[in-house]
Symmetry: C2
Subunit: 263 residues, 2 copies
Amino acid sequence: MRWIRFTKDGKTNYGILEGQQILEVAGDPFAGYERTARRHELDAVKIEIPLMPRTFYCAGLNYTAHVIEQAERRGIQPDIPTKPDIGYRAQNALIAHGESVVIPRDATEQVQYEGELVAVIGKQAKHLSEADALSCVLGYTIGNDVSERTWQRSDRTLWRAKNTDTFKPMGPWIETDVDLDALETIVRLNGKPTTQFRTNDMLFGVARFISAMTRYLTLYPGDVMWMGTDGVSPNLKSGDVVEVEITGIGTLRNPFVSESAGG
Amino acid sequence: MRWIRFTKDGKTNYGILEGQQILEVAGDPFAGYERTARRHELDAVKIEIPLMPRTFYCAGLNYTAHVIEQAERRGIQPDIPTKPDIGYRAQNALIAHGESVVIPRDATEQVQYEGELVAVIGKQAKHLSEADALSCVLGYTIGNDVSERTWQRSDRTLWRAKNTDTFKPMGPWIETDVDLDALETIVRLNGKPTTQFRTNDMLFGVARFISAMTRYLTLYPGDVMWMGTDGVSPNLKSGDVVEVEITGIGTLRNPFVSESAGG
């Protein structure tokens, strides 16, 4: 099932996407819903972020090749994580499928994409075993963890490098029927594939993270976990369009504009 | 004015605290409110966290003495921040005034408090000058940034060291009439003062942080900014009670219990 959040005629609702048609619901997939008789064509609505997360978790370094490549770029020894230590991103930075990533005026040329699987939590959970961990997941969406690498190196935290307004595209919808092992992530820059990897080639998978996290913390409906990225990104500039496709889920597409031109 | 969020007879509402009496309102201080005729005695209600934050910001290192002392404990050179790089904490960890901090079974003896001023954002804000920065602040409350120092050193992120469930007491209310330069923070362990500092002896004050942050990000009503701590904390154990008083705001009081005993 595909959950989509959309705006039509000034009203924002959840719906179930079937092919190119949205079956509008009353309520939401977290607290409960009822189907309505209202139908909308997908191309006649504005797609919104699938949810405003409660806690916004992110696995920073979760693919071996990405860790090694980032270290080589910085001329340091790669430090492969040995356990799943989750990190955080910030709600202010979220934008929807189709909305523009605005590159700040003083950003360097090192603005890059990171295509990521996003797990959306549907049920409150604590002390889950790895075998039971996925029972709290409602479904999966796609994230682009846009990063300004110069600020990532120079700042004490990731507040500006990764959480500048518009730096966190998420969507286009939540797919509930997913075989994690079958997924492939393909990132395209202006239509040409530039990065491709098996989505589940993670150091620590979704279940392992959830099991480790819920030893100490409660996951709540509406929490999201961005699962990290593999490979490298070229530098992005105003006018570029980045598509993050995860097979079986969908494609998240966002143009990049410069602050002077578009923001 | 003091904004309090409370539960009485199973219903949670905002109210205005006048002396020991709560004037219940309909609505909230962010989206708007109307006074009602309902009155409650403060000691007859359950105090709740003043709000569930949207984005949960935290200035990790913001007092010179704290930075130096933490470095000395670790045997490393102190690295005094030269600019205001904001960090994050996690919503799952929040508890209200009076609720228990639960020390996990496998925590070491190095569980410590950090008494902090908390700025509560009341208005959407971007590109604020330092002179105008405080115009987006609704008021101030108090936070205890409870930390497990062993995990803080061993983990790649602060997820477990600082964001274990119950590790973020916040409250008891939001005070809107505050002279930042007059505030003093006093932390008491089992009734005895153990840490005391001028609250505004920050490396970067609230206005400086807001001005720097809003160059890149939008602050929204319901965001909170925890402003860091000074001094050192003794190690805490089950049965301890920690009070964080900030003069002119109030006192945040929480008992500590061990997971085996209380959680």
